[in-house]
């Protein structure tokens, strides 16, 4: 099987950038990362077709000059699925933004509890810098923020039914 470097390098770059973006906290970047990785995987599928050739419309003659059609069919399916899922993800992120006015993913509540407990146990030790990220003050659980969220939710619901 021959592999074209012109496809291999973009695939590697897309995978690398995609993984980097997927690890970000901001949901918009996560979507972009997902799109990049999805396209990298499509290129990977394309590479599996091997050497390029003419369109595979054959009349029973030798298959030599034609390119392999199966990976292209697989890519088409994968593109459709990726498209649908990214549309849903974007709607989800928009909804999340409407509710909390925040793009970033909330820190996990149990992570907070554990880091607090670890912090209490390891008081004499040096506190790591990371602890400040999980500051309880930023938690959306405080009553004021929750009330505001409910209002936004109500507004959203009203807008949808009308």
């Amino acid at each position: 099987m021959t592999v074209s470097l012109a496809l291999l390098i973009p695939m590697a770059v897309l995978y690398a950038c995609g993984v980097y973006l997927l690890l970000e906290k901001s949901m918009t970047r996560v979507i972009l990362g997902f799109l990049l990785i999805g396209n990298a995987t499509n290129i990977l599928l394309l590479i599996t077709a091997g050497r390029p050739g003419s369109a595979p419309i054959t009349d029973g003659a030798s298959p030599e000059p034609y390119s392999d059609p199966l990976p292209q069919a697989l890519i088409l399916t994968a593109i459709v699925i990726t498209f649908a899922v990214s549309a849903f993800l974007m709607a989800l992120v928009y909804r999340s933004w409407r509710l909390s006015r925040e793009d970033a993913l909330e820190p996990d509540a149990e992570d907070l509890a554990i880091s607090k407990r670890a912090g209490a146990a390891a008081e004499p030790l040096e506190r790591t810098q990371g602890d400040t990220d999980f500051d309880a003050e930023e938690s959306p659980l405080e009553p004021g923020a929750a009330a505001a969220d409910d209002e936004t939710a109500e507004a959203g619901r009203g807008g949808r039914t009308s």
């Binding site: 995987t41 990977l44 599928l45 199966l70 849903f88 909804r95 909330e106 509540a109 969220d149 939710a153």
Partner: protein, 523 residues
């Protein structure tokens, strides 16, 4: 008979389209959904009876012969999984309809529930009858996309938060699976499972291991196997009770089913079996330790779900026919029991207004029916004789003892301890929510609750509502199914053993799909 095979997928999809068309007529929509799933349940059982005579039904879609077209394959394992899933989906649907009727859902814009539910069913059935790795991927995507919709139903903040985690993790597993398919195609030139099984054996060992690990990681995320399981207890509990029930019962089991197929047909060589056993051990232990720390019943059950996935992986990892048979029986038992427990929790939530054991109490007096409906599956899950949970675990332990390696004996010990530990959170819930008088709930002090914290994302306490007859009826039906699995354990275990024996050696499957060996030679 063969024409029944695609109906398993077609009926739910057509039903979904009709349900979407008639979204303004809820009564008709409900009828369509019930009829579609009931029809699939009947077809599933007919298929099971047919394939149990020893015939494997293979449908070459569009009339294209096997390695070129898409094959749909129904053998004993597929038919068993389709039948039991259809029954569970039907019971949960009736529960959901009961809940919707009781809450007066008629005016709210949730008419998307029924179409999404049917699409989910179609995805699950596609995955079970796929004879083509890419078709399996499509099946996974269908059920995942439907599950995204169901999980974020209503779009409240906790559900959006939980849904985001779930979706991003699921996407990652899908892309991993897709990349694995691409690499399998690059190295073998096919995506047909039967043909793959013939060609993978010729690949260099390193390539085999790489492909094997990639597939297992993709399926492991879906099945919630230990290092890849952390998304599950985070995302499942926030969904509505019927949605959580069907997710817990079925979605992870589709992952387990894919792992069983991977281990028996694609990669029958035993090189990763020990790794699977270690992963099973960790899944069991870490899962149950998580369950012990939870105050919320739904979260606690989600952790026991993770823990019990370990038992199924244990059966598969043994690599013997007895092990696979025990894993299949345990999967069937677990689908039913876990769904029943989540439905019972839905009833508890309605009666008590919350699922936190800190604020539940006196339920046995208030609603003895719910008590019985929780108690029986709880004992069953904990593996108390004579229930099917005990029989399934016994089968697994016997299969492990027959293997007899030190690792297998370690797993036997761990499985027994985990089974005992499973009883602890279930019995604690029973004691606090059902036995504790309502008057003692305020200022309750006990060593068993002191370290438990409520899930801050769990829904706030709502007013208690009455139970509808349909909800109790559906849960009762599920309890009856789980008890009848116990009563019919003999024939069912024999069926699971035959299914497990089918999967020993790949010739049976390959011959059924590609035709006799002579013809397959020149492909």
């Amino acid at each position: 008979m063969i024409s029944l095979v695609p109906l398993v997928v077609l009926l739910p999809l057509i039903g979904a389209a009709l349900a979407l068309l008639f979204s303004r007529r809820p009564r008709l929509q409900r009828a369509i959904t019930v009829v579609a799933l009931a029809a699939v349940a009947v077809i599933g059982i007919v298929l099971l009876v047919v394939v149990d005579t020893g015939e494997t039904l293979v449908m070459q879609v569009g009339g294209w012969p096997a390695p070129f077209g898409v094959s749909l394959v129904v053998d004993r394992l597929s038919a068993l999984m389709v039948s039991i899933s259809a029954l569970v989906l039907l019971a949960v649907l009736v529960f959901a309809i009961g809940q919707g009727l009781a809450d007066g859902d008629e005016e709210t814009p949730v008419s998307i529930y029924h179409p999404a539910y049917l699409v989910l069913a179609a995805g699950v059935f596609t995955a079970f009858i796929a004879g083509d790795l890419f078709n399996l991927y499509v099946g996974f995507e269908i059920l995942l996309v439907a599950s995204y919709v169901l999980l974020t139903l209503g779009g409240t903040e906790p559900r959006i938060r939980a849904g985001t985690t779930y979706i991003v993790v699921s996407l990652l597993s899908s892309l991993l699976f897709l990349a694995a398919i691409a690499m399998l195609y690059a190295s073998t030139g096919t995506v047909n499972i039967a043909q793959l099984s013939e060609r993978i054996a010729d690949l260099p060992t390193e390539v085999q291991t790489l492909l094997h690990v990639m597939l297992l990681m993709g399926f492991g995320i879906k099945a919630a196997v230990f290092p890849l399981s952390f998304w599950l207890p985070d995302s499942y509990p926030t969904a509505p009770a019927p949605v959580t029930a069907v997710f817990a019962g079925l979605l992870t089991k589709v992952g387990v089913y894919a792992i069983i197929r991977t281990e028996t047909i694609l990669f029958p060589s035993p090189e990763l079996n020990n790794a699977l056993l270690i992963v099973a051990l960790l899944t069991m232990v870490v899962g149950i330790l998580g369950a012990i720390a939870q105050a919320d019943i739904k979260r606690m059950l989600s952790f026991t779900l993770v823990s019990h996935i370990g038992y199924m992986v244990l059966g598969v990892g043994l690599g013997t026919a007895a092990g696979v048979a025990a894993a299949i029986f345990y999967t069937v038992h677990h689908i039913v029991v876990q769904t029943t427990l989540f439905l019972a929790t839905g009833l508890i939530e309605r009666r008590g207004g919350t699922t936190s054991i800190h604020s539940l109490g006196g339920l046995l007096k208030a609603s003895p029916v719910v008590g019985v409906l929780y108690f029986i599956p709880a004992l069953n899950l904990g593996g108390i004789p004579p229930f099917s949970g005990f029989l399934g675990k016994l089968g697994l332990l016997e299969a492990a003892a027959a293997v007899g390696t030190p690792l297998a004996y370690t797993l036997i010990g761990a499985a027994v301890v985990v089974s005992l530990l499973t009883l602890y959170p279930l019995a604690r819930t029973w004691n606090l929510a059902f036995w504790r008088p309502r008057s003692e709930v305020e200022n309750y002090e006990s060593t068993i609750t002191v370290e438990l914290h409520d899930d801050p994302w769990a829904g706030t306490t709502t007013a208690t509502r009455s139970l509808s007859g349909l909800m109790v009826g559906a849960t009762t039906a599920m309890v009856c199914v789980s008890v009848s699995i116990t009563l019919l354990a003999g024939p069912l275990y024999a069926l699971a053993t035959r299914a497990g024996t089918d999967l020993q050696g790949t010739e049976r499957y390959v011959t059924a799909v590609l035709g006799p060996a002579g013809e397959a030679g020149d492909r």
